[in-house]
Chain length 451, copies 2
Amino acid sequence: MTQRTDVTRTLAEWIVGCRSDAIPEEIRTEGLRTFVNWLGCAIGGATHKTVDRALAAVAPFSGAPEASVLGRSERLDPLHAALINGISSHVLDYDDTHLKTIIHPAGPVASALLAIAETRPVSGTAFLDALIIGVEAECRIGNSVYPEHYDRGWHITGTAGVFGAAAAVGRLLGLDVQKMTWALGIAATQSSGFREMFGTMCKSFHPGRAAQNGAFAAFLAQAGFDSSERAIEAPRGFANVMSDKQDYGEILGGLGTHWETALNSYKPFACGIVIHPAIDGCIQLRNELGDVNRIVKVELLTHPLVLELTGKTEPRTGLEGKFSVFHAAASALLRGDGSPTAFTDEAVNDPALVELRRNVHVTTDPGCYEASVTIIVTLDDGQRLEKHVERAIGSRERPLSDDQIEAKFRGQAAMVIGEQACDSLIEAAWQIGAMDDVGALARACVPSATR
Amino acid sequence: MTQRTDVTRTLAEWIVGCRSDAIPEEIRTEGLRTFVNWLGCAIGGATHKTVDRALAAVAPFSGAPEASVLGRSERLDPLHAALINGISSHVLDYDDTHLKTIIHPAGPVASALLAIAETRPVSGTAFLDALIIGVEAECRIGNSVYPEHYDRGWHITGTAGVFGAAAAVGRLLGLDVQKMTWALGIAATQSSGFREMFGTMCKSFHPGRAAQNGAFAAFLAQAGFDSSERAIEAPRGFANVMSDKQDYGEILGGLGTHWETALNSYKPFACGIVIHPAIDGCIQLRNELGDVNRIVKVELLTHPLVLELTGKTEPRTGLEGKFSVFHAAASALLRGDGSPTAFTDEAVNDPALVELRRNVHVTTDPGCYEASVTIIVTLDDGQRLEKHVERAIGSRERPLSDDQIEAKFRGQAAMVIGEQACDSLIEAAWQIGAMDDVGALARACVPSATR
């Protein structure tokens, strides 16, 4: 497979040529759920200090303020808006997940698309087409190199996301196959972002930068800026340089008949997805227990990825707390909370939570399914309670309903833009497919006082 | 060595703490030669269509036009100016080379610095300090992973250059050690660019983007945007993810006593440096031969890197011609030309050059020194002439003199900004160390009619 010479171009042909009416209704519905979930997260994360600081750095360099910063009063040029909205949509680690690759698909793609859609009329149909096609490109490229690429240390949401943003924006711009091929190449050669950054502000910088860089790749290609036409499959291209696995069948197989978009899932908790089973089970135990102050010891039996990804024993900040199964379990047991408020600087430094998290012990078992966990809680009288979660809430087998996505949206966005504005926005977001110009929706995503 | 935990911070401490008067005079002189050579290249490349197209894509998104696009009338915000100036300084493949790593050091560092220096008063001393310190950071980080990193397929001018730009701009901004550590981290997680892009517009995009991204990293860090504090040495950081070699002694050993800046060299020919010996020898043969039309066959005995890097047998564009030893040898023999005019779209499609390049044969020998070549030319009467080049012009053993750097500057920049303006600029550039505000120099780098 490594000798193929037409992977990038064949993918570009599909991105350019895929007809709107060839996207099945259930895929369009999942694309819509992806969008609504992302929009709530982008508004919900907008007041995080990560966003404050990024905006402070960006503001002096912004071009014409044509695009909205979701959840805030500032306006920026569309590329910088894509960056900031990509950061805010991911900063709470509360967005969406393509479970096969742990890509968070919407951040890079939707952040780029909505910002560009404020600069030209884009119908809801064209917008959702581009969103779905961008997510397909992103997740398929991710599949082609996962897990070796991720294991090497790449934050795949950034490294694959830049392709999704380029594909989606290139589609909006109406690039031809030649220019779409270049756009994918210009995206490829910007692919970047280390897992080392988890727990720091740079984690959410990755999808933001992927959105901005992918969109810019599309604009460069539109201007005739060329690149290699085999950027994905060349011996010194993306797949070979950044991964020890290259399976191009994952990119080209079943294009237009099999949809990765169908596999997107939406996080019920605001942290690394591998600890969702533990939070789910701990909240259940808390509800059954009554007096959680009697807990003296917590034992978790999990998949090994849980410790590999979220093994921080002494998180110092809220962002680090998102990568501590110890903190997450303590918060779920003591507060019943897995939402953004469970992962603030205050929460991770709460003495009661700190005390309990130090009594959380994790044993891993490769035979344990990733969406499962077994929890044993020991009380002060020596009594032991066990809880097994077979499939965590938010997994493919227990997906969030539309109502749950809406409640999640309201829970994080109402305080940012006002309850009434939030309710109107939720209603409008579900109807985006029928809009003539989706830019209006972006402009409704700002605090009430701003409008 | 892979277990070190203080590489990034120790480097940041040196970048912040290095005293101006601790930089030896001969290093300052080499930094000045690096700057003057870079400036001529940035102006000389400014009219290339690569720059036209990048500018067309960038213009709609630019912020306040505070910085000059060297060699052109447009003005951009300083981050976009850093991008464009980085592209134009490298697009002719005529800039500078740190031979140990094949990094082209000035593009990422100087392009970022000069653009930022237009937005605030920066003395010539502070400017050269930052340039030299940025080049040190860039080349030392390159040394730590070369050649495995390069062999994997990374274009090291982009991947290491982003650190140099962050270090240099961070120094200008007066970042403290904490923030400089973050700046290096934010730079690291943007490190990108594939060798697959050689021969396309994306090759020069790499130093441009490195300049822009590195500068942005410094501004983000200034605003308190954090990152991993071990971005270079962490198990999932730069060196481990992007290379199979990690030698941190190359980064930290002899800081302040040994200077990589001293090893910079300046290209006499506008193409991949590994074919400079062949061009040098072919021009000598041409001068000795008289009637070059009698040549029927050309044989080259070279280092293996020559074919690996510049083995394009049928280049279609000027940019591809820069990676064709066959074209370069033909041009040097038939036209005596290794300057930018030898690598235009017209030149690579000249029938006479095409015919001769098809009669160029390359044999490689790992025992052949990289700066050497043996050339055998066969004439139409069967006569064979041999030329051995032991060390090519432009190599460390035969460096360009100040006069040659000046002639190179004039040769490419006079047509762009006018002869008189060019002469004044060259004089001013050599004196940059004495300036109170180097921004004035940038503003003198535009076409006469513009000012």
